[in-house]
């Protein structure tokens, strides 16, 4: 079995079936979506008076949903379910076509069920979102370069803060489980595809429809509420808020579908012999992450549906004047919001746990501890949400219990450190790009974790809550730990996903620029927060000038480093060195398949006889 044979197999192009499916792609989706949105818009305008804010919100919200539904119809997402309704199903040829068999690049623009295609779609989508969110971060920091800079006005600034926040949060939720959870995970467990390939395509294209909706917020007055979109501020906000609401509802559906799909795949489709204690740790981490998202995100969706009702049909869920409560929103939001940070964090850490044994040539230290650590975090994370509300005034007598649960999370988190340290201890770390991520995570997550302990402490939070200190803290965990893990994962799996090696020189330059810039950026922000600068301010006093200037300089370094990374990815993807099948000498299953990967991944179903961490001098 050579690489050449494989190339021939996957290039053999079956005759496309005579079916509507072959005619549909992203372009037809957009056309139908725009037509649906326009029709809904003009129908709404003829029905309701646009002068009233409630009516305008209603028309816009319905139009945005119409766009999403129209797009999905136009790309052919509902052809399968429609056939079922009339008692039929897609023909075998149609199914092969949907899987993108032998279609080259065009399958990336179709409703394609191949998990590898969906993984690449997620990867490109995430990169675009991170690019957009990062650009907004640069604009935010530019405005804060000196006090009173007024580079942008307060209205634009607030919108930038909101859009940066929600774009990055959505991107970070999918940054690991999207590309790697779809592309790599099924191969890692020896499956031929995901459990529900059509749902897999649906989860990506649903998310895709939300991106233009979120972007449209900019033209409807932005999201001036921060990503938390606290009510009643969100009820008061302009039409851009509708885009936020629609985006979150669509995203919640998409992530529920993706979560059900990944968990089912891992539970039901593992290779023969892959018992639970032989499952690669990334698979465990990704599964726990999406499984945690399944109960968490409906709460977010509910919070936004109620906000939507308040805005579009005049209910008063969050309006105290009519008996509603802003605290209701805060609860629903944070019941999602705190598990959500672990949804982001766990896959990033798990990727680095996958990487550390390969590059230290040592077994993963105490697999059970790693699993217990993840499980402990998942379990506790649903019991801590009100630590975001210590100073909200809602029931101060419960601050104590929430402080206890929050600080208890430091114990399972500590176990994750132990696993990483035990793995690299007495190893000879091979300083390739993915391994650098392990060290960056240890430093960044340590800082993020320790500062998190202050914030979990009520008397300290009385001072620090709502300050720049909080912003610096969660960037250390989400960006410093989770994004670092995702970038390391990209460097690690790039050969498998693209067939080429990620360029090392530009990769190193990017890594060091980003990491050094990151420390400068958030050290400045810790200082500003300690001094008493509130977060989300468009302007500030002279006293914070030095700290903010340092932050902005660090931010530019991060920006430059990220541009270098983008260059590195694009350049390597097109012209990089051709990768061997297993460039890192790793032992998980994805390294046993050559590139380009056969449509159903394996010619022969693999049989697993041990866990993939049999590294080390004398394996007993």
């Amino acid at each position: 079995m050579t690489t050449l044979d494989h190339a021939k197999v996957s290039e053999s192009r079956p005759n496309p079936p005579k079916s509507l499916i072959t005619k549909l792609n992203m372009g037809t989706g957009m056309i139908v979506g725009i037509v649906f949105a326009e029709v809904t818009y003009f129908w709404g305008k003829s029905m309701w008076d646009r002068q009233e804010a409630v009516m305008e919100n209603r028309i816009l919200t319905l139009s945005m949903f119409a766009w999403c539904i129209g797009f999905l119809i136009g790309i052919g997402a509902f052809i399968g379910p429609f056939r079922w309704l009339i008692g039929k199903d897609l023909t075998d040829e149609e199914q092969l076509f949907l899987a993108g068999k032998g279609q080259g690049v065009s399958r990336y623009f179709r409703y394609c069920t191949d998990h590898k295609v969906v993984g690449i779609q997620y990867l490109v989508g995430v990169m675009v979102m991170l690019g957009a969110g990062g650009t907004m971060a640069m604009m935010i920091r530019t405005n804060l370069i000196t006090p009173g800079s007024k580079w942008v006005n307060a209205e634009i600034y607030n919108s930038l803060v909101g859009l940066h926040g929600i774009t990055m949060i959505v991107a970070m939720i999918i940054v690991s489980t999207g590309p790697f959870g779809n592309f790599i995970l099924p191969i890692m467990i020896g499956a031929r595809d995901m459990a529900f390939p059509r749902l897999n395509a649906l989860s990506w294209w649903l998310l895709f429809t939300a991106i233009p909706v979120l972007c449209s917020a900019w033209f409807f007055g932005g999201i001036p509420t921060g990503w938390t979109a606290y009510a009643p501020l969100s009820v008061q906000a302009g039409a851009g808020m509708n885009a936020f609401i629609v985006t979150i509802i669509i995203f919640a559906i998409s992530s529920a579908i993706a979560g059900a799909n990944i968990t089912t795949t891992v539970v039901a489709m593992r290779a023969k012999g892959m018992k639970w204690n032989r499952v690669p740790i990334f698979v465990i981490g990704a599964t726990m992450s999406v499984a945690l998202a399944i109960p968490a995100f409906p709460s977010f969706m509910a919070s936004q549906m109620m906000a939507g009702f308040d805005r579009t049909i005049g209910t008063h869920f969050y309006d105290a004047e009519f008996g509603g409560s802003g605290w209701l929103y805060a609860h629903l939001f944070w019941i999602m919001g705190h598990p959500e940070v672990y949804v982001i964090l766990i896959p990033g850490v798990a990727i680095l746990m996958e990487i550390a044994p390969v590059f230290a040539r040592s077994p993963l230290f105490s697999y059970t501890t790693a699993v217990v650590g993840f499980a402990g975090i998942v379990g506790l994370s649903v019991l801590v949400w009100a630590h975001h509300m210590y100073i909200s005034g809602w029931m101060p007598s419960l601050n104590g219990p929430f402080m206890v649960t929050t600080e208890m999370i430091s114990i399972p988190t500590g176990l994750l450190f132990l696993v990483l340290l035990g793995t690299i201890w007495r190893g000879r770390p091979w300083m390739k790009l993915p391994m650098l991520g392990v060290y960056a995570l240890i430093w960044n997550f340590l800082i993020g974790g320790i500062t998190g302990i202050y914030l979990s402490d009520v008397p300290a939070d009385d001072y620090l809550h709502g300050s720049m200190f909080v912003t610096a803290h969660f960037h250390y965990t989400l960006m410093g730990a989770a994004l670092t893990g995702a970038i390391a994962g990209l460097a690690y799996w790039f050969p498998k996903m693209t067939g080429r090696m990620l360029d090392e020189r530009s990769g190193y330059i990017s890594f060091w620029t980003v990491q050094i810039g990151f420390q400068v950026l958030f050290l400045g922000m810790f200082a500003a927060g300690s001094q008493g600068q509130p977060r989300r301010v468009a302007d500030y006093e002279q006293a914070f000038a030095t700290s903010d200037l340092i932050s902005t300089i660090g931010a530019y370094l991060v920006g430059i480093g990220m541009i270098v990374l983008l260059y590195s990815v694009v350049h390597s993807w097109r012209k990089g060195k051709i990768a061997p099948m297993n460039p890192w000498g790793a032992k998980t299953l994805e390294w046993t398949v050559p590139y380009p990967i056969y449509l159903e991944n394996f010619h022969e179903a693999p049989v697993v006889t041990s866990d993939p961490y049999g590294y080390g001098r004398s394996e007993k």
Binding site: R361, H465, G466
Partner: protein, 264 residues
């Protein structure tokens, strides 16, 4: 010779194994690193926060700041250990195109996992007990001073703070407080959520529409207080700030009289 042979044949006791572990070169180097890094974090904690945090003007502020400084100092050995291990492994790093030779092969080490869990649990309990105690002291202070406290009604509206002293019949956009007298802030909003933050007093509470929330403190240093909004509240959130003063009782009474109020 044969004696020695017999000695090494004996299985070492756990105590010996423990001592031997500390004699190995890698553990020694790691410990040196650990001590240096711990010292660095201790100094960082002792320097950073006192340098950057503003003047302490109440016991609440002092407690909050103490928690931050002491937690940094307490967590310094953990940070020291973690970073020392990582740094030590970097001494043996390997470059090049091919993977290094195989590393150590231990799968797990139950005593270490157990010890790590117990130690981190102890640190966690210390943090919890410390935090609960300080929080309790804060609320006991508030209860003890409830009767004698000066009541200030704080109203947040987009984008100004107003202060009403119901017992004194004064309303003002400036917050003046007498020295060493307990104060109860009764905070509410007339529109969206705000968060009332008198920075140097170390307390903070959200302002909600149609709900009154409370914050208690006792200013104990004369000086200026920065008052900010710590919850994004719309367009001019950044400018929703004012200043307050802690003044001597006599000065405060004069100010109240000048505002047309009556001194209790």
């Amino acid at each position: 010779m044969s004696d020695q042979h017999e000695v090494t044949d004996l299985a070492p006791t756990p105590g010996e194994r423990f001592r031997n572990a500390f004699n190995s070169r890698d553990v020694k180097i790691t410990m040196v690193f650990g001590v240096i890094i711990t010292a660095f974090f201790v100094l960082l904690g002792l320097w950073f926060y006192p340098k950057f945090m503003p003047e302490i003007m109440s016991e609440n502020m002092k407690r909050g700041k103490d928690v931050i400084v002491y937690f940094t100092v307490i967590s310094a050995p953990i940070a020291g250990l973690v970073i020392a291990v990582a740094l030590y492994t970097l001494l043996n790093r390997h470059h090049g195109e091919n993977p290094p030779e195989e590393g150590a092969s231990f799968r797990t080490h139950t005593p270490i996992v157990f010890a790590w869990t117990v130690v981190s649990a102890i640190f966690c309990i210390v943090a919890i007990v410390w935090g609960l105690t300080e929080m309790n002291v804060n609320s006991e202070d508030a209860t003890a001073n409830a009767k004698s406290a000066l009541v200030v009604e704080v109203t947040g509206s987009q984008w100004v703070w107003t202060f009403n002293y119901p017992e004194l019949g004064v309303q003002s956009e400036q917050l003046n407080l007498p020295l060493d007298r307990a104060v109860e802030f009764r905070v509410h909003s007339v529109d969206v959520n705000h968060s009332f933050w008198p920075v140097q007093l170390g307390v903070k509470v959200d302002a909600n529409d149609r709900v009154t929330t409370l914050a208690h403190t006792t200013p104990n240093v004369l000086g200026t207080i920065d008052i900010k909004c710590a919850e994004l509240c719309g367009l001019y959130h950044a400018y929703m700030e004012t200043q307050g003063k802690v003044m001597k009782e006599a000065d405060f009474n004069n100010w109240v009289t000048a505002q047309g109020g009556h001194v209790a």
